[in-house]
C-alpha cells in the first residue's frame, strides 16, 4: 500500500512538473520574456549593439495576451497589444505607442523571441526568450 502511494505521488509530481515545463506559450497564460540582445539602427542604415539598459528597454517584459498588455515586470511601464495572431507554432503580437510600432514573434515550443520597435528614423531590434511562469 505504501509503495503504491509513493508511486502515485511520484507520478503526480512528474505530471505536475511536465505540465509546468510544457506551460503553453500560445498566449493563453501570461509570459515572461527576457531580452538578451539589443541592436539599434539609425535611418541611414548604421546599426550598433546596445543593451536593454542603454536603450531604456526593460530587461524583462511580461506579455499578457488575455489583458492585451505588454508591461515591465513592476508594471510601471506598459504598452497595449493591438493585434494578436497565431500561425505555425508562432505567436505574434503587435502594438503602437508614441509614434512607434512594435512587434514580436515567439516560438511557442522553444520560447525563442524576436522583436522590433520601428519609428520614422530608425529601429530597435531585440531578441530574447520567453517562459510561462
Amino acid at each position: 500500500m505504501r509503495a503504491l502511494l509513493a508511486t502515485g505521488t511520484l507520478v503526480g509530481l512528474g505530471l505536475l512538473a511536465s505540465t509546468a515545463l510544457a506551460a503553453p506559450l500560445d498566449g493563453t497564460v501570461p509570459m515572461l520574456c527576457a531580452l538578451n540582445s539589443v541592436v539599434e539602427c539609425a535611418r541611414r542604415g548604421d546599426c550598433e549593439r546596445s543593451t536593454a539598459e542603454d536603450a531604456q528597454v526593460p530587461p524583462f517584459v511580461r506579455i499578457d495576451v488575455g489583458k492585451r498588455l505588454l508591461s515591465s515586470v513592476d508594471g510601471a511601464r506598459t504598452t497595449p497589444i493591438v493585434s494578436v495572431q497565431r500561425a505555425n507554432g508562432r505567436l505574434m503580437v503587435q502594438g503602437m505607442q508614441n509614434e512607434r510600432v512594435w512587434g514580436a514573434v515567439i516560438n511557442e515550443q522553444t520560447g525563442q523571441m524576436s522583436a522590433t520597435v520601428g519609428e520614422d528614423d530608425g529601429a530597435i531590434v531585440m531578441s530574447g526568450a520567453c517562459i510561462a511562469p
Binding site: E48, D54, Q56, L70, S72, R77, Q97, N98, E99
Partner: protein, 149 residues
Amino acid sequence: MRLTIQRLVGLAMVPVVVGTLSGLALGQGYVYPAKGQSPQQQQKDQADCQGWAMQQSGVNPGAMAPPPSGPTGQVARTTARGAAVGAVGGAIGGDAGKGAAIGAATGALVGGMRRADQRRAAEQAQSQASAEYGRAYTACLEGRGYTVK
C-alpha cells in the same frame, strides 16, 4: 526660524543645482569681485545674473533634465533631432514638438526607448544649451565688474 532655515537651504541649493549643469557658469567657475564688491552685493549680482542669463538664453538650468546617458535620463525626441537650446524644455515633459508625453517616466514602455544616436544628439543639445546659459551668465557678471574664470 523655520523660514530662515528654509531660505538658507534654498540658497545653498541654487549653485548646486545650477552648477552641475552649467560648468563654468556657476559651479565650477570662479567669480572675483574685481571692483571690490561686498559679498552681499556679489550674491545679489549673481542672483540677478542667473535670472538675466535664463531670460537671454531661454535656458532654465534648474529645470534641465539630468544627463541622459544614465539609465534614468529622459530626453525629448525633438531635442534628439537637433533642436538645441529651445527644445531643452521638452526634455522635461517629453516630446515637446508634438505635445505628447513620451518616455519611461510617463509609463510608456515602447515610447520610452532611446537609440544611441538620439541620446548623443540630446546630450549635445543639452551641452549647447548649458554653454549658452554660461556665456550669458558670464557676460552679465563681467558687465557688473566681476572677473569670471
